[in-house]
């Protein structure tokens, strides 16, 4: 059964009761929340995702609810709980949905010790993975959202999973987070993209999420071989430039963007090393999204 088959009423019922068991790629998350905006967000953005039954195994247990304090009456807030413990500072209640997305990202970053988890976006074409690690503001998510509507299969916008033994690359194929101006850019350049209503005034400004393309969701169990590691940088007015980067410094940049490299030690070192070896590394500067798409087409075709 998929979210679309469930309908909003039953979805709300699950969330408010024993929890919705949501499958995202290799993970199952048990999500509980009485908050209406959370149910609406899931209904719209996870439409194509599978729902597991209540006796299934789940990797993460998340709950979004108001804190148990008097504040709920005059300035309602929301907490994100993982395994019944609050892991973040509370946010204003209207940010409940983005908080679910951030919380699920936190779970993957902190509770998946059996994969190397990279803070990066990833997409697949012809069985090969394109990994885009970048600090916030580098335009990683914008590129990722656009590529997902331009012949690339979305693996993840935020957390790349690398198998420690085989180096197969995968991701949960969850919604892509877009901020401020990139919301407009994606609306204009990808007419088929479905975006949630932007939520203003978060710490990051306005935030919206993009529904992953149906095909990417249906194929989210398919892994990819390492292909390219591209470090993107968005610079207004800059002309497009794709420059090969030495594997050693690419490797160092890659591990700086890994969530659990330090915790895993030797295994993570060799896993990241093989990943850098098997991939072609580049630095990429861009300002126009259409030019960037053409550049990635050429990269995929080996031109």
């Amino acid at each position: 059964m998929r979210i679309a088959d469930l309908g909003l009423a039953r979805l709300q019922q699950s969330l408010a009761g024993r929890g919705l068991y949501l499958r995202t790629g290799p993970f199952t998350s048990r999500i509980q929340s009485p908050i209406a905006s959370v149910a609406r967000g899931i209904e719209s953005l996870y439409r194509d995702f599978e729902v597991a039954d209540n006796s299934s195994f789940y990797d993460f247990h998340c709950e979004l609810r108001a804190p148990r304090s008097h504040r709920r009456f005059y300035r309602p807030q929301v907490l994100f709980l993982s395994d019944r413990r609050s892991v973040f500072k509370p946010l204003a209640c209207q940010q409940a949905y983005p908080m679910l997305e951030w919380g699920l990202n936190w779970c993957i970053a902190n509770q998946v010790p059996y994969r190397l988890v990279l803070h990066a976006a990833a997409l697949e074409r012809n069985g090969k993975a394109l990994i885009l690690p970048a600090p916030p503001g580098a335009g990683k998510s914008t590129l990722c959202a656009a590529l997902a509507h331009h012949g690339w299969r979305l693996l993840t916008d935020e957390s790349v999973l690398v198998d420690l033994a085989t180096n197969e690359v995968s991701g949960p194929a969850r919604p892509v987070s877009l901020k401020n101006d990139s919301i407009r850019v994606i609306r204009e350049s990808c007419p088929s993209a479905v975006l949630s209503t932007p939520i203003a005034d978060t710490l990051k400004g306005a935030v919206a999420h993009m529904r992953p393309p149906t095909d990417a969701v249906h194929r989210s169990h398919e892994t990819a071989r390492p292909g390219w590691i591209v470090f993107p940088r968005y610079r207004p007015g800059a002309s497009i430039q794709l420059k090969p980067r030495a594997a050693g410094s690419g490797f160092m940049q890659l591990i700086a963007n890994a969530f659990n490299y330090a915790a895993l030690g030797t295994r993570a070192f060799h896993s990241a090393g093989r990943l850098a070896e098997e991939s072609a590394c580049f630095d990429f500067t861009y300002s126009r999204l259409d030019e960037a798409m053409q550049q990635f087409d050429r990269l995929a075709d080996g031109r």
């Binding site: 030495a246 594997a247 050693g248 410094s249 690419g250 490797f251 160092m252 591990i255 330090a262 030690g265 030797t266 070192f269 060799h270 090393g273 850098a276 070896e277």
Partner: protein
């Protein structure tokens, strides 16, 4: 030239990536990108065998005079990263 004998730290993990070399120190949890010179120096040091500086210079093909300053610099930077150890 100093008479210290140098030895590579036990248990280091090393990979060659293209022209470059990366080393992981499992004890300290640190990762280093080595310059070609430092990588060549590390290659001279076999695990468990100490080597003196004159022998190192010879193996690296450095002339015996006037290069100890540079060799000393490489050795001290590798030592401060705990990748090698020097003993008198």
């Amino acid at each position: 030239m100093s008479r210290r004998r140098w030895q590579r730290t036990d248990g280091l993990q090393q990979r060659t990536l293209g022209q470059e070399c990366v080393v992981f120190h499992p004890g300290a949890g640190t990762t280093h990108l080595l310059t070609p010179a430092a990588a060549a120096l590390m290659d001279c040091l076999t695990a468990g065998v100490a080597m003196d500086e004159a022998e190192l210079a010879r193996q690296l093909g450095l002339p015996a005079d006037g290069t100890d300053v540079e060799l000393g610099r490489w050795l001290s930077s590798l030592q401060s990263a705990d990748l090698i150890r020097g003993r008198h």
